[in-house]
Amino acid sequence: MAKYLLLKHYRGAPAPVNDVPMDQWTPEEISAHMRFMQDFADRLEGTGEFVDAQALAPEGTFVRFDGEGRPPVTDGPFAETKDLIAGWMVIDVDDHDRALELAAELSAAPGAGGRPLHEWLEVRPFLTAPPTVTE
């Protein structure tokens, strides 16, 4: 009973084994990839482990406070940013091993040639609420 974030990076993670950018796949390969992701989420809902899945637009804006009564300062997007998050899945599982097992399955999503991507996903535990029993 612990939540984990499975984080997919556009950039910043080590290169996947099947390292062909998506825009060079065939349309069928892209469809197969999307279907795999949806099936995976559906299956996790069926096992009672799914919490959330979202994809992010690659470009965002940096914003900061610029003093009382002044409009916020914006900057970016920075094309050179080293780490870029593509999206995430949140799972609620019994233990860390299960989180790793599911992340590994997700990493096998098909890519170019229908072969598994073997992409690197980052697994991050959620901080929990404090336990009731403390000593």
Partner: protein, 381 residues
């Protein structure tokens, strides 16, 4: 309408349906439907016999569902022999339900979900909110759990320890949504203690009462965690403490010590101290020694090191800590505390920062960060 009273009737109604021949999964669904119906109807039209009402409605729901299922499969066959709604037995056997919902074939998260629904009478939506997952996910988790135990017979007791573990997990989840899981675990454990005479059930009940008693003092107005040593003891619930101590003493008198009784004994010694300085740390160390004999776990050894640090001084605590694996959760936090007590503030500050980085819950992380900040700040002055 008293929702807790309504939910308290759930396991009894469910066992009656099962005894009449309904399979557990279908009966459980029917009882959920009846509960929802009761919430709708009772406020305007309260029944004279709430339990009888629930049994009648749930049984009707079960038959309806069963009929339509049967009709789908074999239209020519009709279910015969609806039992007379007759008198409902007063005594119910909810004990087997506890065992079923905590069956060893279930994963901890499924056992927890099934117990909350079938024994606790919570709706799937309430359980989903308490555990911060989508309702559809929780519904599936419960459906799978029911399939897993479908072949388990409901007629013989299992291992009490598995039930206690599930209740302990629910209690430890605390309060995270619109359902107070700690209070719910306490209610279910109290009920279990009336169903079965077992010193460890009493031990867990005492443990819960004693920890629950401190709840108001555990968090500051701004939500920050207040450690035991700094809690305002006048805010502890003395009635819950008295009940916890009484329950524990009765259990200990049976002379069948178990880990929950030993943990409750530690909590009772804390509850018994009017001020933190008056804590009987020597006895607490002795109870940790008992606990180690019962369950030798690294977590117990870590807690024992804290107690040794208080009973025999921080150096003794650090020596006890030296035997332990430094990668244990909270090891660094304990080491920081002992170094601080030993007067080595530089080391303590460094370790508090490190411990904050490793913390697995946000309140603990913030607490440790404040400790580190306080020491850093003091050194600069």
């Amino acid at each position: 309408m008293d929702e807790v009273l309504l939910r308290g009737l759930t396991p009894g109604v469910l066992t009656i349906l099962v005894r009449r021949g309904a399979d557990f999964a279908a009966a459980e669904d029917a009882v959920q439907d009846a509960l929802v119906e009761a919430v709708r109807v009772w406020p305007a039209d309260p029944p004279e016999d709430p339990k009888g009402w629930l049994v009648t409605v749930a049984w009707r729901r079960f038959l309806d569902a069963h009929r339509s299922e049967t009709a789908r499969r074999r239209r020519e066959e009709r279910l015969q022999g609806e039992p007379e709604p007759g008198p409902v037995p007063a005594a119910d056997d909810t004990l087997h339900l506890y065992f079923l919902c905590a069956h060893p074939s279930l994963t901890p998260s499924s056992a927890v979900a099934l117990t909350l629904r079938a024994v606790g009478g919570l709706t799937t939506r309430q359980i989903a909110r308490a555990y911060l997952v989508p309702e559809a996910t929780m519904a599936q988790r419960i459906a799978r759990a029911k399939r897993t135990v479908a072949q388990v017979r409901l007629d013989r007791p299992g291992d009490v320890a598995t039930v206690l573990h599930v209740l302990y997990l629910i209690f430890n989840e605390g309060y995270s949504g619109d359902v107070d899981l700690a209070a719910e675990a306490l209610r279910l454990t109290r009920r279990l203690s009336t169903e079965i005479d077992h010193p460890e059930v009493a031990g867990l009940l005492a443990l819960m009462l004693l920890h629950h008693a401190r709840r108001a003092a555990r968090t500051a107005a701004d939500g920050a965690l207040v450690p035991l040593a700094e809690q305002d003891r006048s805010r502890w619930d003395t009635r819950a403490i008295a009940e916890g101590v009484r329950t524990l003493q009765a259990a200990l008198a049976r002379d069948r010590l178990g880990p929950y009784q030993a943990q409750a004994a530690v909590a009772a010694l804390h509850a018994d101290a009017p001020t933190v300085e008056e804590t009987d740390w020597v006895q607490i160390v002795e109870w940790y020694d008992e606990l180690l004999r019962l369950t030798d776990s690294p977590v117990v050894r870590l807690n024992r090191a804290v107690a040794v640090g208080e009973a025999d001084g921080p150096r003794a605590g650090l020596a006890a800590l030296a035997d332990l694996d430094a990668t244990l959760p909270r090891y660094t936090a304990v080491a920081a505390h002992l170094h601080e007590r030993d007067g080595d503030l530089d080391t303590a500050a460094r370790l508090y920062s490190e411990a904050a980085h490793q913390a697995s819950d946000a309140a603990e992380r913030d607490h440790l960060t404040r400790r580190a900040a306080r020491l850093h700040h003091r050194r600069q002055r």
